[in-house]
Amino acid sequence: MRHVAHNMMPEALLKFNLGDAIQDFCDGINESHIIKMKFTQIGSLQALSQSNAIVLYRIIQELTNNALKHAKAENIFIQITKHQQGITITVEDDGIGFNSLAPPNTKGDGLKNLQTRIDYLKGSWDIKSEINNGTSINIEIPV
């Protein structure tokens, strides 16, 4: 399971764009039938630099990984929206959730890495989660 979410630099990201790479990422996980991934992109990501695309790819990979490891979810939904002020990324699962006002163990490297990557892109993020009502993570990246 870890293997699926942890694959190396995807070729699609080097050759094409973030949307194609995320679609491949989702297709790959769907083939394992562990969980159902869905991906929607709104707007064009052509203007995104390759290095920023890689950072965003890693962020999405990390969030998906978290959901696979902890959420006991059946579905994960990823959405990337390009709008005038930037890019919004949403990663949602329908798993067990947690109390987002008192987040669980944040000592792991996962969330720290996530924070570092989002800081690098001068972005902001928020987590919304409720016990037994899934988790929704929103990331705003300015352009």
């Binding site: 094409f16 194609d20 679609q23 297709d27 709104i42 929206t81 949403t90």
Partner: protein, 208 residues
């Protein structure tokens, strides 16, 4: 056109693939391997010289990729049908090749029968995809509602209640700009151009 020999061009940088394909194709009736090339330059040179009906093109060629070569061939040699040849079955590769004019996509794990099928379908004017490739259609299907994020669902419910963007913004602690973006995205996802239609369709799907 039927009953006539189909002229094939093979483009791949691996000699083994070329030789293997050639050996298989030469056993098939009414199929002739007109030429083989190891890269895009050789392929273009051959196309200028000889008549080719179907070109099998490796997606991963050195220097000029099969994806670029495919675009060039479709533009400059419109009589040539391109079938992509690849070890990858990720949709990004398939989409790029199809987007550049390929009419078929064959994975290298294909056997003799699949290769023959690909030629026959393309020759008959149909598209061909190896089994195992999910020939993805556009996500907007009439009978399936788009997937919405929790935030979009909240915004949509408030729109349905007749709230203005200002009211929605203050209720959800969002900027008015963000609410408008959600509104636009909802219209895009439901493929409608006004909120009234959005609400009607969402209600039909039982999403409100």
């Amino acid at each position: 056109m039927k009953g006539k020999t189909i002229e094939i061009l093979l483009v791949d940088d691996h000699a083994l693939v070329i030789e293997g394909m050639k050996a298989l194709l030469e056993k098939m009736p009414l199929i002739n391997v007109a030429g083989t090339a190891g890269n895009a330059f050789e392929a273009i040179a051959l196309l200028k010289k000889m008549k080719v009906d179907i070109a099998f093109i490796d997606v991963n060629l050195p220097d000029i990729s099969g994806i670029e070569l495919c675009a060039k061939i479709t533009k400059e040699f419109p009589g040539v049908q391109v079938i992509a040849l690849s070890t990858f079955q990720q949709s990004s590769y398939v989409n790029q090749m199809i987007g550049n004019g390929a009419v078929g996509y064959l994975v290298k794990s294909a056997g003799k029968q699949e290769i023959e099928e690909s030629i026959q379908s393309v020759w008959a004017g149909k598209m061909y995809f190896s089994s195992g490739i999910n020939n993805r259609q556009d996500p907007a299907k009439d009978n399936e509602p788009p997937t919405l994020t929790k935030r979009e669902k909240e915004v949509m419910k408030l729109i349905a209640e007749g709230k203005t963007s200002h009211e929605i913004a203050s209720k959800l602690f969002l900027s008015i700009y963000t609410v408008d973006t959600h509104r636009k995205n909802l219209l895009t996802k439901f493929e409608v151009n006004n909120t009234a239609l959005l609400i009607t369709i969402a209600a039909k799907f039982g999403m409100l």
